[in-house]
């Protein structure tokens, strides 16, 4: 579905090295790695937001619909949730259904900044779904949420993935635990410049043995 041939990305100094990978329909990838290593940079490159990464570096994107859940909600603050959803192509009925799906029924006329952080993020998730995405990009969806809200959102996303078997997902996270719940494939980004040190399907055994421990024991020298 999607093939990455990213040659690298500089911000004065090299941040991202070469990244080669393919993404198939139904892939649920968790992108892990130390903070500041370039996970969001990679996500932006995949989404086509990075103008210095040529379009040929992400083969197949032009044929895909992409939903991107940014760290901030990035809804238009001067438009209601309904209007925000309709702007990306949802009908009245679809907007209503989507808000219901993310647990915000009845909030259609609210402005984004009238919502709590968790609610706004769910509204932004509804917008991702409104474009009927082939590829869902999530940038630290659980960051700065309290454990209860984070858990709810995790369950919500897991449910969405279940009901969209053809959709691919890339989810940036710090937490191996997220991967256990959401992912069937794991990317580990590290090094300077950063490369995918590890791109693997998550085996049942790996999950049982504790993904986090495995990641912690992963020394760059051993790769």
């Amino acid at each position: 579905m999607l093939e990455l041939r990213i040659a690298g990305r500089d911000f004065g100094q090299p941040v991202l090295g070469e990244v080669f990978a393919t993404i198939a329909r139904g892939d649920r990838i968790c992108l892990l790695g130390p903070s500041g290593i370039g996970k969001t940079t990679l996500l932006n490159a995949i989404a086509g937001l990075d103008k210095s990464v040529p379009d040929e570096a992400v083969i197949g994107r032009d044929k895909l619909r992409v939903g991107y859940l940014f760290q901030e909600h990035r809804l238009l603050p001067w438009r209601s949730l309904d209007a925000n959803l309709k702007l990306v192509g949802a009908s009245d009925q679809e907007a209503k259904t989507l808000l219901e799906q993310v647990g915000l029924s009845g909030y259609g006329h609210y402005l984004p900044d009238q919502l709590s952080l968790g609610m706004a993020r769910r509204a932004a998730l509804a917008r991702c779904l409104a474009v009927k995405p082939d590829l869902l990009l999530l940038d630290e969806p659980f960051a700065s949420l309290d454990p209860v809200m984070a858990g709810e959102l995790k369950a919500l996303i897991a449910g969405i993935l279940d009901s969209h078997p053809d959709m691919a997902m890339i989810c940036v996270t710090h937490d191996g635990g997220d991967a256990e719940i959401l992912a069937n494939r794991l990317w580990y980004l590290d090094g300077k410049p950063a490369r995918l040190q590890w791109d693997d399907l998550i085996a049942e055994a790996c999950l049982i043995n504790g993904l986090l421990d495995k990641l912690r024991s992963l020394e760059p020298a051993r790769l």
Partner: protein, 258 residues
């Protein structure tokens, strides 16, 4: 950008302005000179001019020129401002010209337009537009530079059309700047239009002031000025303030929720 914050309470207008009229009346009454008519004389002139229809004809002519010049200046200035704010090259190209135009006296533009194009309506309006466009462009450029890149990225990912981006993403962010340009713009354009009319038109408030000046008819000068001030204030109260309130509603959420 919030212009209303420094405004004194309403009663001060109801105290200071009548006091001023009273002061003016007493001085005029003491002097008994045709060069300083009493407020009643002025009111009288105002009623007479209004009854003959002259006042409305000339106010209308001025208003028409202001509306046309203002609309053109806002559209052109906004377009230039956005492009200059978004593109370094365009900014480098236009900025020197902007500096030149900003410092060019309005009177020079008016004279040049009349000399080159004759004493015609187009020349008059063009002179006003040329005077105003640089101010709008500079103000809007400031706004275009501060557009939120995060919303730009969002608009890119969700494939907003050019029109959607302008209408839904840019204009709301530029709104305070457009409002500032509008306020500054109207004040400036009114005044330039009067000069334009005084120098080369045969209608409008500026033309009437010119005629009154020829015969030292101070009462007429003051009557037309008052009518003029009233119209400007009416536009402020009836159009600008409601517009501002309506468009900044989203900034003040009723209450933080949940």
């Amino acid at each position: 950008m919030r212009g209303r914050a420094g405004r004194p309470p309403l009663w001060s207008y109801w105290v200071v302005l009548p006091l001023f009229v009273l002061l003016w009346g007493s001085i005029a009454w003491l002097l008994q000179s045709p060069l300083l008519p009493t407020p009643l004389n002025v009111l009288d002139t105002l009623v007479r001019e209004s009854a003959t229809g002259e006042l409305w004809r000339h106010l209308g002519a001025t208003l028409g020129r202001v509306v046309v010049a203002f609309t053109l200046a806002m559209i052109i200035g906004t377009a230039i401002g956005i492009v200059m704010g978004r593109s370094q090259t365009t900014n480098a190209l236009f900025d020197p010209l902007l500096v030149l135009l900003l410092n060019l006296p309005a009177l020079v533009t008016i004279i040049l337009m009349y000399v080159w194009f004759g004493l015609v309506e187009v020349a008059a309006v063009m002179a006003v537009v040329i005077n105003k466009v640089p101010n709008v462009a500079v103000t809007v450029r400031e706004g275009a530079r501060s557009l939120d890149y995060r919303l730009e990225e969002m608009a890119t990912v969700y494939e907003f059309t050019r029109w959607q981006r302008l209408r839904e993403v840019w204009v709301p962010q530029l709104f305070p700047y457009l409002m500032a340009a509008t306020r500054g713009g109207l004040a400036l354009i009114w005044k330039i239009v009067l000069v334009v009319e005084l120098l080369g038109r045969s209608s409008g408030v500026g033309f009437q002031l010119h005629m009154a000046f020829q015969v030292f008819d101070v009462a007429a000068i003051l009557a037309y000025s008052l009518a003029f001030i009233a119209v400007v204030q009416l536009i402020e109260l009836a159009i600008l303030q409601p517009l501002e309130r309506r468009s900044s509603r989203w900034r003040q959420p009723e209450a933080a929720h949940a």
